[in-house]
């Protein structure tokens, strides 16, 4: 069952990577066109930092974890 779950997850991610690779290959965004993507309201960085700060109180309240790509570290809360 674990193998099935892992395979499923990898298949989803693989599909995503292919989709991203395919779409970005069709219309590659040039370096000088990335101004909006660098704006603080657009980056993923702030979301990842906020999620890391939220992780401890959320994991003390809910049964799931993850969603950021990084592990938050242990405590009595989780």
């Amino acid at each position: 069952m674990i193998r099935a779950v892992v395979s499923f997850g990898l298949a989803v991610l693989g599909a995503l990577v292919l989709l991203l690779g395919g779409t970005t290959g069709c219309a590659t965004v040039r370096p000088y066109e990335k101004e909006y993507l660098a704006d603080p309201i657009m980056t993923f960085r702030q979301d990842t930092e906020e999620a890391a700060h939220d992780l401890h109180w959320i994991e003390a309240r809910e049964g799931s974890t993850g969603g950021t790509g990084v592990s938050g570290g242990g405590c009595a809360c989780n």
């Binding site: 657009m42 799931s64 405590c75």
Partner: protein, 375 residues
Amino acid sequence: MQLSRVLAPAAALGLLLPSGSLAIGESEAELRFGLFTDSDHVHVSSAGGAWGAEMDTWRLALDWLREVVTVPGITAAPGSQEALDSVSGASRPIASDSDPHADFSKVRQQVSGSVRRGTASAGYYVSAESDYFAQQVSGSYEQGFLQDNLLLTLSGSYGWDVIEPEEDEDGLAADDRKTTTHGALVATGVLTPVTMVQGGLEIARVAGLQHNPYRNVYVAGAYTVERHPDDRLRQDVFVRLNQYLPNRASAKVAYKLYRDDWGIHSHTIESKLAQYVGERVIVRYRHRWYTQDEADFWSDEYLLAGGIDGYRTGDYRLENFSSHLFGARISVDLGRGPVAVDWLENVDVVAKYERYFNSNNFSANILETAVALSF
């Protein structure tokens, strides 16, 4: 557990620092203060900070946090589940012989640091409470493709926790350990000059003590200590989409699917809308919806002495429920605008308020403020 157990490993971070003199480039620092209150009248006040700097080809980051959890005093019968809830899950020894009206207070301190050079980074985390000491090492590697329009990041971490329960009404539970091995593969892609997407897969294996050593469960007419499986395999897949909108705004949507081998499946959908107001203010709204089903061994009432498959739990996190989180955040650049102050030109002030409630009649208010400085 003593503060020195936090500081000593944290000081060892210095060994990660490259030697020799280094020119310091762009740096930033932040001070954060938070207050969490919930419907059980639990308070958590927190103070923390972060510092990051570039030194030649290295990037160093440090983060620290101090939380004080205060659980109000109640009259609790031995083995009851009351007064255990808190934002940090601070396990509270129940001692009905002691003053039942005394507040219970617990302090947690946390330090983490990371170094990055080029495409690789490494990090260390340590957290200390009176009955829980956690450490974690982590690393990541990223590689860009398609002229950096596609970024793949592989990361992993290993955490090891030492649990030394304090004495409670039932006596002194044995010391125990827990380890967490986590891996993630994340792909970040640029679709258009105004659209970015990110997808990830995470797997974590948790082994060791995973129940609350202070909590008892009512089973077949008697109280007995809670028992969870010693192993847990957790997986999640997530997708995030960020879209820049006209008039200097952005919309973000995220979805996470989670499952584990305790039988819990959950869905999380989160959305954020950010808007510049003038040159110096950013306002951001957030909504998060969460739903989960229950663990295989969850029951409102255990009729058999062994529980379900030998397991029994009073952990509210393992039952089915759904929740909502609404909130707003405002940040102000003090160095901009008609009344800008020169020496504050790289200072941002942030304030955030969020309201959380779930279908188990639990609710909480989260208030945070921060001052961020770049130099």
